[in-house]
Assembly symmetry: C2
Homo-oligomer: 456 residues x 2
């Protein structure tokens, strides 16, 4: 007998986890498509050289890479992808003459990292990315935030805020302080602000560059932290910042970009409180060059950002000389599912199959089989229990799986061409309904239950 | 510069391939769910021991396995799955006390085989499986065929036939010929009947077992071949066969099982011509023990079976002592897509985004952004071109991507709160429509185009 366990750091998703995940992904796909984003798929296996090219992944990610070999293959040649961004860059470079730009793609798929297994961290997880490549327009920036908004709202996430910042603003501040070129270490320090607090970040900013700090004087560190911590709120934050940053063109362009994005989001009906300017938002990736986004859910901040992204100057410089600026974001599917689960708002049963067709012993099996087929043809999912066990057990099986209604037949009903309709929640049963009204009566009963709140 | 090619035997799916694939998978998921099949997901990486256990895969498949290792991992411990059946068996054994039987699951995912690269054969491909575990009822058998029927019809496949046979029938024939226990080699020979013809199969049946044959006498081989070749058609085939096989209980039970399945399919409204008994149908896998299915499309037989499966006695004997009989099938997603592509019936554009909102230079970007958001809120997908290029280029971009309608605004329309509505197929344009009728007029125009056949 072989032990049926999964390998360390990996996991099975049983139906109670896979059903809400599929529903959420279908919802995301519909939102992406409604904006004209198109799907692409790339292989799970890439050439090692593609994944380990300079800047493709951080040193940490590269240490975690899974190598892949088959009999007759060359060791070290192939590996599993660790994100969907490097494959996107390779894909766009490979197909740059066919795609047409701006190219708006989404991709949903597994990525693999050999991290040390820990609670809630897995070696295979799903990424859910969308990007607009080949446009520098603020329309594309605003659309990225709008897609996040529509995707989260559609998934039933309440109370989220999309925080925005722009890389040029911090660069401009550093310019006014005579600190050009220190952006990288300053960003990395600020990125930990929410986690470790002001004092610890101030220390890191003041530490020497050789010791992993940013090498700022204490008063410079204080100015940077004041700017970051006070710059949170609505569009008014941009006006205050403009006065501080008056001299820096790059900063003013950043402020103008955020103003345009907020205007566009307002025109699309995104409520003002749904977005927030946060001049301390760092998103410590050097990769970003313009607007950056993070999204947190009120009361669930400990989950971190559930949707993040930003604008970058050049997607695929590893693979092509063509400059490809873009903007995109990644939705944290696993975090959102975990959050909704803890909030008790995850529907784990299959709403697509609301009906169990049950039958008493002595009924011809063709009868329930036929009634179920009729319901499905009318767009109503219906299951037949395959064995003639007791009707009580059939109904219990259905209830466990989230069925709302039982359509029940026995030899008498078969002879009279009738059925009984049982509400599996209230246990109310209507008897002797004619087969001719099967679809209509089931549809009405389901509609009534939906309005009454069951199965919502 | 790194070469952006994919590794040998792997492939990218650009939007024109990924869009119809996603649509087809969504369709399959909806069909599976309407019968109460639930999704599960298992990792792409399994423990090597799980994949190479006795009988898990054929020798050929095991030679093609991709091994997976990361820094610090033990070589030879992990591998990529080569199908979804072994992971299903492991999953069911691991979770046998939580699932509840009968357990109806579907799974859609990538599997990996290091085959020698060849046209149309890839080292990563998608499997699309559904199974009912823990039931021996003919209802579950018939439902398997019905799911194939509904899935293919829903995917727009015309002229397909689901062929059925039962393993017990051939076993019974061999019994009457005094050839018990020769089922394996006889099946393997018959499996090649369509490909190599009667004479070649007769030779293989007559060859000695030591030379890879079945060791039948020439007249026995002839009897087997007559039986296989003449036993094709409707339920009448079962009656003729019953006379030949009168003495074998196992054969009669097989015939009775097929009769029940045909009755059930008839009751569910499957047209008689959609199914066909084929007593020569072998499906050479030793794994199957009851009914077997194959599905071919008239005029496209060279694609082979596009949906196949059958009943098995015991799914997970490698992993658990619990006997788990079941029935299931696998839909050949890639074959179906290739077939529909060759038949010119694949929709490669994104029907979910029928509208392009275009704008003349001088229009405030918030205007098209807002109109597109209104259309999306009304359930109509709409794209805005992000840069203010010429309106002609915007419309061309939309047409290339399958948009059907252009909603066009300029500074005048903005001032008057109107828009122009352009049919991107006929190029007819209605001018000066009020913003207040935006959603209604776009919806009506799309409905008229759909009825007229555009975008169908």
């Amino acid at each position: 007998m072989i032990d049926p366990r999964v390998a360390s750091g990996l996991r099975d998703l049983p139906p109670a986890a896979a059903i809400p995940r599929e529903r959420m992904l279908a919802q995301f796909r519909a939102v992406f498509s409604s904006f004209g984003f198109v799907p692409i798929e790339t292989p799970h296996i890439e050439r090692m050289e593609v994944l380990t090219g300079k800047g493709a992944g951080s040193d940490e990610v590269l240490r975690q890479i899974f190598e892949v070999t088959n009999k007759g293959g060359t060791p070290g040649e192939l590996a599993l992808r660790f994100d969907l961004t490097v494959p996107l860059a390779r894909f766009v470079a490979k197909h740059e003459n066919e795609l047409g730009f701006p190219f708006k793609r989404y991709a949903i798929g597994s990525v693999f990292r050999g991290e040390r297994p820990a609670k809630g961290r897995f070696r295979e997880f799903t990424q859910c990315d969308f990007d607009t490549i080949g446009s520098e327009s603020p329309l594309a920036d605003a659309e990225t935030a709008l897609v996040i908004d529509r995707a989260l709202a559609g998934a039933g996430v309440a109370g989220f805020t999309i925080a925005l910042n722009h890389r040029g603003i911090l660069d401009g501040l550093l310019e006014t302080l005579g600190l050009e070129g220190r952006g990288g270490p300053v960003l990395r320090a600020l990125d930990r602000l929410a986690k470790v607090g002001r004092e610890s970040v101030a220390a890191e900013l003041s530490r020497n560059a050789g010791q992993g700090g940013a090498g700022l004087a204490p008063d410079q560190a204080a100015r940077v932290l004041d700017f970051a911590l006070q710059g949170r709120g609505g569009p008014e934050v941009l006006e205050t910042a403009a006065q501080t940053l008056g001299s820096s063109k790059r900063a003013l362009a950043g402020l103008e970009n955020l103003r345009n994005i907020l205007d566009l989001l307002g025109s699309a009906g995104v409520p003002t409180g749904r977005t927030s300017v946060d001049l301390g938002l760092a998103r410590g990736l050097d990769y970003y060059t313009g607007v950056v986004f993070e999204t947190t859910v009120a009361g669930w901040e400990r989950f971190g950002s559930v949707a993040s992204g930003g604008r970058y100057d050049d997607l695929a410089s590893l693979f092509t000389t063509r400059r490809l600026p873009g903007v995109g974001a990644s939705i944290g599917l696993d975090r959102l599912l975990a959050l909704l689960e803890e909030a008790g708002r995850l529907i784990k049963a299959q709403v697509e199959t609301p009906v169990l067709v049950g039958y008493f012993p002595g009924t011809r099996p063709t009868t329930p089989f036929q009634l179920a087929a009729r319901l499905r043809a009318a767009g109503i999912g219906a299951e037949v229990y395959p064995e003639p066990i007791s009707i009580g057990k059939q109904l219990a099986h259905g209830s466990t799986r989230g069925r709302l209604l039982g359509v029940i037949v026995g030899p008498d009903e078969e002879a009279n061409e009738t059925f009984n309709l049982r509400d599996l929640v209230s246990r109310h049963e209507d008897r002797g309904l004619a087969w001719s009204v099967l679809e209509d009566s089931v549809a009405s009963a389901l509609e009534a239950m939906r309005q009454g709140g069951a199965g919502a």
